[in-house]
Subunit: 234 residues, 2 copies
């Protein structure tokens, strides 16, 4: 039987076996939503890095730099962490080095998986179809917020479980929690997403359009995965 | 404003400040349900201990011994981990030393709180009323299963949030997750409880009556708390 499990925060990833699994890393607000948007809009590849310094070092080799800390753009970087910035013409054909608060840590701690995919509501249907065709064991790795579970990534986990349908068996109660959350709110994702602590934090900075965009489904039809140290479309 | 937060597993408790908070430890299947049942049925005090050896050592001083590992009674102990065992006449007036897989760890890692309460569906109303009267900041500490979140403890967290009503503000997304889970299943707690991994594990051992009893609300009207190294009624 094919299986699907959910890790609610990188702090719990050590409880999961990664070997032989397709891990879908998700940081809805906003790292992985930005990555999917960028790659769909013509970015050649995205390099996730953990520190501002290593991001700037890649920038000095000609890459664009992007990212935030605590939801705020880093001043020296070319881009912040809004998906709309990744839709601009000048990113086409470029390499982008990215460093964000939570998403990068979840990507780094997924090392050892059979394959690492980058998930977002924006391309959930394409990702689900790819997994149905290729994966036997799926682990959805939620980036959370500074080590704690969050609503929006858990909501995505529940949504992807539904998209994957009945051919995957749920393993562990975190998957059941995520599924219940999604089923309870599937007809108004934006309303529950706005309740998340991070959405409220972003709204405090005046960032509200990003929230609505990041919970839109089926905007893009690409699938994104890690190859070596970079993220590209399949 | 009064606040309420939820920690989904002891592995995440380091992300919460315990000082100044009323921590409600919950291990629905079955440690804290047993403790509440025992104290309601006349047990004088319960001593939670981490190892089988320290439990047996207390047993040699005249206490009854109780507990399980992986859901199975420990052979040398007087009692297993079923609430029905704690309803027997011979436990009245006794001290009981208890060691279980998950609940004890959650109790131990709550040290530093202003007060530690022992929660169960069985006395949820009494616990909620006590908190409304006495607590400014509540943290519901779910014992989970071997470090992972579980359905039944999260369900209790959501239920207690509802019982506490609007005078407490939710802090953090785990509290919102728990509330959503409860609201989605409040009219049939047993159905969702049966879906939990641990309920299925217990059902595999033929233990099904315990599941239904442990999700019954308002069976007992006592409130249980830690005083030093023992659990007693308030």
């Amino acid at each position: 039987m094919k299986t699907i499990e959910v890790c609610l925060t990188p702090e719990l990833i050590h409880q999961h076996v990664l070997e032989g699994k397709f891990v879908v890393v998700v940081d809805i607000f906003r790292a992985t939503s930005c990555m999917v948007t960028g790659l769909a809009c013509g970015v050649s590849a995205i390099y996730p890095v953990s520190t501002v310094e290593s991001c700037l070092a890649l920038g000095s080799t000609g890459m664009l730099t992007a990212g935030e800390r605590g939801g705020i753009k880093i001043e020296e970087f070319d881009l912040g962490n809004s998906p709309f910035e990744y839709q601009q013409d000048f990113v086409k054909g470029k390499l982008i080095a990215v460093s964000t608060t939570n998403g990068i840590q979840a990507i780094a701690s997924s090392a050892g998986a059979q394959k690492i995919l980058i998930g977002a509501f924006l391309n959930i249907s394409a990702t689900a179809n790819f997994l149905i065709q290729h994966a036997n064991h799926v682990l959805i790795h939620c980036a959370g917020w500074k080590g704690t579970p969050n609503l929006e990534d858990t909501l995505y986990a529940g949504a992807l479980i539904q998209w994957l349908g009945k051919s995957f068996e749920l393993e562990g109660d975190s998957a059941k929690l995520a599924k219940s959350l999604y089923l309870n709110h599937q007809h108004d994702l934006l309303a529950i997403a706005k309740e998340s602590s991070h959405a409220k934090r972003l709204a405090g900075f005046g960032i509200t359009d990003d929230i609505a965009f990041c919970v839109s489904t089926e905007v893009y039809s690409i699938v994104c995965h890690m190859v070596g140290d970079k993220i590209v479309t399949i």
